[in-house]
Amino acid sequence: MTVNATFIGQMVVFAILLWFFWKFVVPPLARANTDRQKKIAEGLAAAERGQKDLEEAKSRADAVVREARERANQVLEQANRRSNEMIDTAKQSASAEGDRLLANARAEAANETARARDALRGEVGALAVAGASRLLGREIDAKAHQKLLDELAEEIVRG
């Protein structure tokens, strides 16, 4: 229980141990620790960045999808409109064609009528001259009464 020279030896032992820890043990362990802390911090930052990127990409994808859907709607609408237009034009042209055909038919009928009328008129004039000659018992100079005959024929045809 007495203090003697032993403590000198103990001081040397402790001094050596302390020096060893100071020079060879604590620095590498502390460095590894700091490095790991840095690594972990970087990893966390990278993860956060990745998360943000993912969110951005997601919102971008959403925008693209939304735009595509809008465009599809537009295309669909356009197509609808165009088909309606085409139907309308077809209808219009069909009805115009019908009108035209009708008009043609009418014109033809009118032509026919006019021609028939002209033929009739000539025939009526001849008939009237023939009738009147029979009544008068003599030849009537058709040329001399052309004007009268024409007027008569006109009257008959119209009447």
Partner: protein
Amino acid sequence: MASASGAEHGTSPTDYIVHHLTHLQVGEGFWTWHLDTLFMSALLAVVVGWVFWAAARRATSGVPGKFLGFIELILEFVDGQVADIYHGDRRFMVALALSLFTWIIAMNTMDLLPLDLPGGVAALFGLEYWRVLPTADLNGTIAMAIVVLLLIIVAAIRSKGLGGYLHEWVSAPFGNNPILWIPNICLNFVELLSKPVSLGMRLFGNMFAGELLFMLIALLGFTVVGVTFGSAFGFFGQIVMGTAWAIFHILIVVLQAYIFMVLPIVYIAMAEEHH
């Protein structure tokens, strides 16, 4: 924690305890060397140093293994304690605290070895005495405390300069008046000296008392003389009390090491403060 093998060296309980408290020594007077203390502390310093050096060599910023994780756990704990107390570059402080903490735990743990085992092993080598616990030797604890004292003085001089440090000796704490120089010096002397003395004596006292209690418990084994009630009491008493004290002693082993780790850091931090 003991058998009655002490009877080989002496039949009486007194002989047993005296034998267990005697160092293996050479030399005379002050120049006496406790070979067992020197050998055990050096051996444990080598073991602790080797374990931590192995960890330091394996140190990686990647995923640590179990061994490295355990070492880093200790380092983190010590580093946290130091960081709480000492504000500044604490690389040396961590080395000081870590070496004190681990070395003292290793030495204190020797108290948990079976009481007669180290002596028995030493006897195989023809050594009559062998105290296995370096921290139950006042030389062992005072030596560490004196190293700490030197570090306190060095830290104070580094922080304040030699002139500032000497100035503090004469002018603090009462004031810089020539009449107060002597009281200042006396008080500073007591204050400075009380630190290593209390450090060394505390650890020594705790470990010496713990060791002594193990010996006293071992004496219960001496009462085993035959198949009697008294023998049964002695046998089971030694087992029960020895177990209980050993378990409680684990706490003291770690606690005293912790105290011896923290106080030097506190002292050095105080020494670097300006008054």
